[in-house]
């Protein structure tokens, strides 16, 4: 035990001696979570649009004013010809053009019916669809105002309640996601590098002939990183509570326990990578290329998993980050206890054991 402690101490010295890495280790997650918490949102507002008004009468002016007044749109340009639409779309800034037909006002008075064409640049399907929905709701609002004297019979009035996130803040989505990415990548990357580094520099041989058994060597290498990652997790949770006003409805202790579990899972994955990779370069490329995009895309961090094609939903099951995101959202936003997330917890636990088991099997105590 004393030998083991000595080894852990040596590892700590190694880490703390490298001031620059240490600074990166703590400074970067903080910078990232602040940056992303404030900057990223999948809400759509201030979209640049243009207007092509063939009638230019009182009604169209009124509607245009309503559209300009909304937060969603800012009118950039008034066009004169249909052919201009293609030109401004190619420039890429303007995302939609509203076209009012000729004699809009008089048609509306005479036939009670007039039409607006919403032409969107649908290279981005999400924005295009949302713009179209927003314009529709502004138009509907306008119509309701015009029709307000007429009482509609047989009305069903939906009372919609947005549970857990009444203001539909996108921070609630992004902060747990960014936290997961940071913990996952930092932990997996750090361990995989630190072990392959010993291999590459030839010092692994020295460790292997020491009286420590290989298992102790690995554990001793991982312990300092658990410690560092926990500090990172604490900083991130504090930031999300005090800076982003994320609620923690559930128990902080459970949140802590789950975070440690996830950190251990990531570290175990890092160890596994290091048993496969021969050089630091390979280890880093696997942990960066192999993990970064799958973790961002298949974890439910940005894109809802339930909308993906079935095979991808199956693949997403093997991404540990997916389960951790479910757990932290549950604890922080829904205030659930372990009885609700035991399944996800067991899956993470199982993955950890699997990674460790596989690494032990692959771990070579002899150099060829």
């Amino acid at each position: 035990m004393k030998r083991f402690l000595g080894f852990v101490k040596k590892e700590f010295f190694h880490i703390f001696r490298d001031r620059r890495s240490l600074f990166i280790l703590f400074g970067m997650p903080v910078a990232q979570i602040l940056l992303f918490g404030f900057a990223i949102t999948n809400e759509i507002n201030n979209v640049d649009i243009a207007i092509l008004d063939h009638s230019k009468d009182a009604t169209t002016k009124e509607i245009i004013q309503k559209i300009d007044a909304s937060n969603y749109f800012s009118i950039q340009q008034f066009l004169d010809r249909e052919t201009d639409i293609e030109t401004i779309f190619k420039k890429g800034k303007v995302k939609a053009v509203l076209t009012f037909e000729k004699d809009f006002s008089s048609k509306l008075v005479r036939d009670n019916n007039a039409s607006v064409q919403i032409i969107t640049d649908a290279t981005d399907p999400n924005t295009a669809n949302t713009i179209s929905n927003y314009v529709n709701s502004i138009l509907q609002h306008y119509q309701a105002e015009q029709n307000k004297d007429i009482q509609l019979p047989y009305q069903i009035i939906p009372q919609t309640r947005m549970a857990y996130n009444p203001e539909l803040k996108s921070v609630f989505m992004f902060v747990p996601g960014v936290m997961t990415i940071i913990l996952m990548l930092v932990s997996a990357m750090m361990t995989s590098i630190s072990i392959t580094r010993e291999k590459e520099q030839g010092t692994m041989e020295i460790l292997l002939v020491s009286p420590l058994n290989p298992f102790q060597v690995i554990i001793g290498k991982v312990v300092p990183y658990i410690f560092l990652s926990v500090i990172n997790a604490i900083i991130i949770v504090l930031l999300s509570i005090y800076v982003f006003e994320m609620p923690v409805h559930g128990s902080l202790i459970l949140l802590g326990f789950e975070s440690v579990l996830f950190i251990v899972t990531s570290l175990a994955l890092g160890i596994l990578i290091s048993t496969i990779a021969a050089t630091q370069q390979t280890a880093m490329m696997i942990s960066l290329m192999g993990l970064m995009l799958p973790v961002i895309l298949l974890s439910g961090f940005i894109f809802p998993i339930s909308s993906m094609p079935a095979p991808l939903q199956v693949i997403s099951h093997i991404v540990p980050a997916k389960w951790f995101i479910i757990i932290i959202k549950g604890i922080m936003l829904k205030g659930v206890d372990l009885t609700y997330v035991w399944k996800e917890t067991l899956i993470l636990l199982g993955m950890t054991l699997f990674f460790i088991g596989l690494s032990v099997k692959k771990y070579k105590t002899r150099l060829e």
Partner: protein, 373 residues
């Protein structure tokens, strides 16, 4: 020139000798392009729908049938109380709870209006907003049907002012997400590979100690840098080519713009990334540090590129920051060229900015590279 050629030859040999690295450089990115492009969709489908029917009348059943018929919703469960339904939502089993009040039918017929309780799991705010729109559409059409059924001889309705809107989606009528995502994800993969390889390469020689050996040779600074970076430039261009072929064959992404223009832009773009990699490796001592820094910038570049979330929605200061994000320009250019068939004139602003960026980045990198330690 001869010296540069030898260095390039050496670098290529080193890359192709490392059997562990080859699949990571060539197979992994393409595999990800094929798989992950399918994952990136904001469409909201398969909404798990549950309901509590306190009324159990023909009207309430007809309403549920409407939801069953919709392709967006999967009617999963019928609960007897709100408590049971809330528990299911806490577990994450259901996304929507519709509560039909006890006197739904009677109120509708007698009082002319009735409430309907809807609870949506809104942790994913954007998806919840879309779900709410879908629900309202179904309710609206159901409401309209009932109204016209109950008012056979309605004369009021002709007096309603009606503005009809005709949406038309240009360049992508079917709102296919893949044509939008494939060019973007290809950009990410090309960037990641070139940046990581370049950032690690020179610092590796430093760490192993072989850089000193090279420094004492008569090889000049510029020869060494060009020789080191050129292979990665080739790899980047190669990846782009294979990626474009995959985009065309598997995803059938349109390629309206000019290919030579795309290659011309990419060749300058990769220079920016290589310069950045070299710059990073000049300021670090170990591969670990270099990797951390490359990773830090990569995550920022990816998430602030406008690839997954719109840039226009970011606060002003963040939009200003994205001006320094090379990936943003590359994503824009690729989408404009492939999907809209933009001309050189259309992408001129991005082209110039990237060119200036390349000059500055490489200037800094060469300036900060020192042969002596």
């Amino acid at each position: 020139m001869k010296i540069i050629r030898y260095i390039i030859q050496k670098e290529f040999r080193q890359i192709f000798r490392n059997k562990g690295m080859l699949p990571i450089i060539f197979v992994l990115p393409l595999l990800q392009l094929i798989i992950l492009s399918n994952a990136a969709t904001y469409e909201v489908k398969n909404i798990q729908f549950s309901y509590i029917d306190h009324n159990q009348s023909s009207s309430s059943r007809a309403l549920i049938e409407k939801f069953e018929a919709s392709t967006y919703f999967q009617v999963t469960e019928r609960f007897s109380s709100m408590k049971a339904a809330s528990t299911a939502m806490l577990k994450g089993d259901v996304d929507v709870i519709l509560e039909i009040p006890q006197h739904f039918e009677r109120e509708l017929h007698r009082d002319q209006k009735t409430d309907l309780g809807i609870t949506i799991d809104a942790i994913d705010g954007a998806a919840a907003g879309v779900t709410s729109v879908y629900i309202n559409q179904i309710l609206f059409s159901y409401n309209k049907n009932i109204r016209s059924k109950l008012l056979q001889n309605n004369t009021d309705r002709t007096q309603l002012v009606n503005i009809s809107s005709i949406p038309s989606f240009w360049y992508n009528e079917t709102l296919n997400y893949k044509t939008f995502m494939v060019p973007g994800i290809l950009v990410l993969l090309v960037t990641m590979i070139t940046l990581f390889l370049a950032a690690m390469n020179i610092v590796r020689e430093k760490e192993i100690g072989t850089l000193e050996q090279i420094n004492v040779t008569p090889i000049k600074k510029h020869q060494f840098i060009i020789g080191k970076l050129f292979p990665f430039w080739v790899i980047g261009m190669g990846l782009l080519t294979i990626g474009l072929i995959i985009a065309k064959i598997i995803f059938n992404v349109p390629m309206l713009g000019s290919l030579p223009l795309m290659y011309a832009y990419t060749s300058i773009y990769i220079l920016v990334i290589l310069g950045m990699g070299l710059f990073i490796s000049n300021f670090t001592d170990t591969q670990q540090q270099a990797m951390f820094i490359a990773w830090f910038f990569m995550v920022i570049f990816i998430l602030m590129s406008g690839l997954f979330t719109p840039i226009e929605s970011m606060p002003g200061w963040a939009q200003l920051l994205t001006e320094f994000n090379p990936i943003k320009y590359f994503v824009e250019v690729m989408r404009m060229l492939m999907l809209k068939g933009a001309s050189f004139y259309d992408i001129l602003p991005q082209f110039t900015k990237t060119l200036v960026y390349a000059l500055i980045m490489n200037g800094l990198a060469v300036w900060s590279y020192k042969k002596t330690s």
